[in-house]
């Protein structure tokens, strides 16, 4: 445990220096994000009347916040393993006997800092193009449960995608597609009540829908389809089980890499 924390701290220091101090990655990343968000948010105004813009702004902010969380898990955490392969670092990490989890743990604080700043920027972009989103904190306990559940689910998701990337050498576009479909199909972007019944059922079969519904409810955006406390209990249990399964999955994939070697990464 002590070694894991020590390794994680070294990774954190390396990422902090590389991404926030030595490079302008943060600035460029935020600029790019602002432009992408405006590409998707502005057309929404073509669908709504002037008087409905307040609700649109609130919904857009929470939807984008959820999408950003998914993106962070996909591109910062899961693709981290692919990046380690590309840099030729993964073999050294494995051979050193250090846990690969140190890379995930070390990256999380940098990702959270980036996420917080990005969210402020998204707020500014939505305020500019749609109107200022006015969120109300209805239930802080449910919000805390929702955020915790979301973190557990996203960490588990990134371990599964990262592990699969390691052993399959799967290319970027597949991950890009997953990162779009998943939040769309499981209620990340939109409240489940706006989705067809079959999709609602499908979304509740995955662990992804519960945190999104809980966060939306606690911020006064929309009510969940099931009782709030049922959603909280099932969501938290499901997220924990998902994380355990993902840890086992990653361990199996790493053993496979030790036996078969690291796969080559694709052109795209």
């Amino acid at each position: 445990m002590k070694n894991l924390l020590k390794a994680s701290l070294a990774v954190l220091r390396a990422y902090f220096t590389a991404e926030l101090v030595r490079s302008r990655g943060l600035v460029y990343g935020l600029l790019s994000l602002a432009v992408w968000i405006s590409i998707f948010v502005v057309p929404m105004t073509l669908f709504s009347e002037e008087e409905a813009m307040e609700g649109v702004a609130k919904g857009a902010l929470v939807g984008v916040a959820m999408f950003l969380a998914y993106s962070t898990a996909t591109w910062d955490w899961a693709m981290l393993l692919r990046w380690l392969v590309q840099l030729g670092v993964l073999e050294y990490v494995l051979a050193s006997g250090s846990s690969i989890l140190s890379h995930f743990i070390g990256t999380i604080p940098v990702s959270l800092a980036w996420y917080s700043i990005a969210l402020c920027l998204v707020y500014a972009v939505i305020s500019l193009f749609v109107g200022p989103p006015k969120l109300v904190l209805l239930d802080p306990v449910v919000l805390a449960i929702g955020v915790t559940t979301l973190l557990l689910v996203l960490l588990a998701y990134s371990l599964i995608v990262g592990g699969a990337l390691l052993t399959s050498g799967t290319s970027g576009p597949i991950v890009e597609l997953i990162s779009w479909i998943l939040p769309l199909a499981t209620g990340g972007f939109l409240p489940l009540r706006y989705m067809p019944r079959q999709l609602q059922l499908l979304a509740y079969l995955t662990p992804f829908s519960y945190p999104a519904e809980l966060i939306r409810y606690s911020l006064g955006v929309s009510e969940p389809l099931v009782d709030t406390w049922v959603a909280a209990t099932v969501g938290l249990t499901y997220a924990t089980a998902f994380l355990v399964v993902s840890l086992v999955f990653l361990r199996v994939q790493l053993r496979k890499v030790l036996k078969e070697g690291v796969k080559s990464v694709a052109l795209f």
């Binding site: 990655g25 992408w36 929404m44 709504s48 409905a52 769309l184 939109l190 706006y194 052109l267």
Partner: protein, 269 residues
């Protein structure tokens, strides 16, 4: 011309070998415009109603956003292929060989987007034509074919500016790829892919007209909306072609500057 065709053949072999070896990429490419259209429609329907969209834009949101997603994909392939290739070649260790080879950098970069561009024509058949035909019957099929043809012009006229900006930035060194990550979506904003340019202010409209594919996208959208009078279609298309020809000069300058920089400073391996 023979040199260019040789380069196109080499690029075709490289890209199509990858696409057929990894069929998941082909599957993803076919699915991608459907996902983007569904995504934009879902956002729009949650924010309001299709009737409001029809009243404000003048076209069904399904057709308008399907056109936008298709144009987005077909033009983005050009930008991505051209702008990211130096990074891919560097990662693959091929850049020293490419830089030291006697082939013309301009011809090479003009050939790079061709394979994935032809792949995007396949998408016209798997995505745009079925959607238009289902929505509007035979008239829709015709409109779909016109949009696919316009997207060809849009992608071709995009090559000079993409090479000029991409290689121009790489010549500066440092973290140019990060700047490209910002410029890439800015191109989409300027093209008015998801928000019609004719709804922008006059100043923004005039500024964005300097980007050749923006004029083609406008023509495609006007065809869908039914605002496509002959002069409203021909003038922007001519403007796009003329601008693309003019932008060949900065394209050549950027390509040459990048090549000289790499030859002088060496390539990271």
């Amino acid at each position: 011309m023979r040199a260019f065709l040789g380069l196109v053949k080499a690029e075709m072999l490289l890209v199509y070998a990858e696409v057929f070896r990894r069929k998941s990429i082909l599957f993803m490419s076919i699915l991608w415009p459907y996902v983007m259209t569904a995504f934009m429609l879902a956002l729009g329907y949650a924010a309001g109603s299709p009737e409001v969209f029809l009243r404000r834009v003048g076209a069904s949101p399904v057709l308008f956003l399907a056109t936008a997603s298709y144009v987005l994909f077909s033009t983005l392939t050009v930008v991505d292929d051209v702008m990211w290739r130096p990074v891919y070649d560097e990662n693959a260790g091929a850049l020293p060989y490419i830089v030291s080879s006697p082939i013309s950098t301009v011809l090479h970069y003009a050939a790079i987007p061709v394979p994935r561009f032809t792949l995007s024509l396949v998408l016209g058949a798997t995505f745009l034509l079925p959607v238009f035909t289902l929505q509007e019957g035979l008239d829709g099929l015709l409109s779909g074919l016109i949009v696919v043809a316009i997207s060809v012009v849009a992608a071709l006229t995009f090559i000079p500016v993409a090479v000029a900006v991409g290689l121009g930035l790489y010549s500066l060194g440092g973290e140019s790829w990060r700047a490209i990550n910002v410029i890439r979506p800015l191109f989409l904003v300027a093209m008015g892919v998801y928000y019609p340019r004719w709804m922008l202010s006059k100043v923004a409209y005039a500024l964005t007209a300097l980007l050749p594919p923006a004029n083609c996208v406008e023509v495609a959208q006007r065809v869908v909306v039914g605002l496509g009078k002959l002069n409203e279609v021909l003038l922007p298309l001519t403007l796009a072609v003329v601008l693309a020809i003019l932008q060949m000069y900065p394209m050549r300058r950027s390509a040459r500057r990048w090549e000289v920089t790499k030859l002088r400073e060496g390539v990271r391996v």
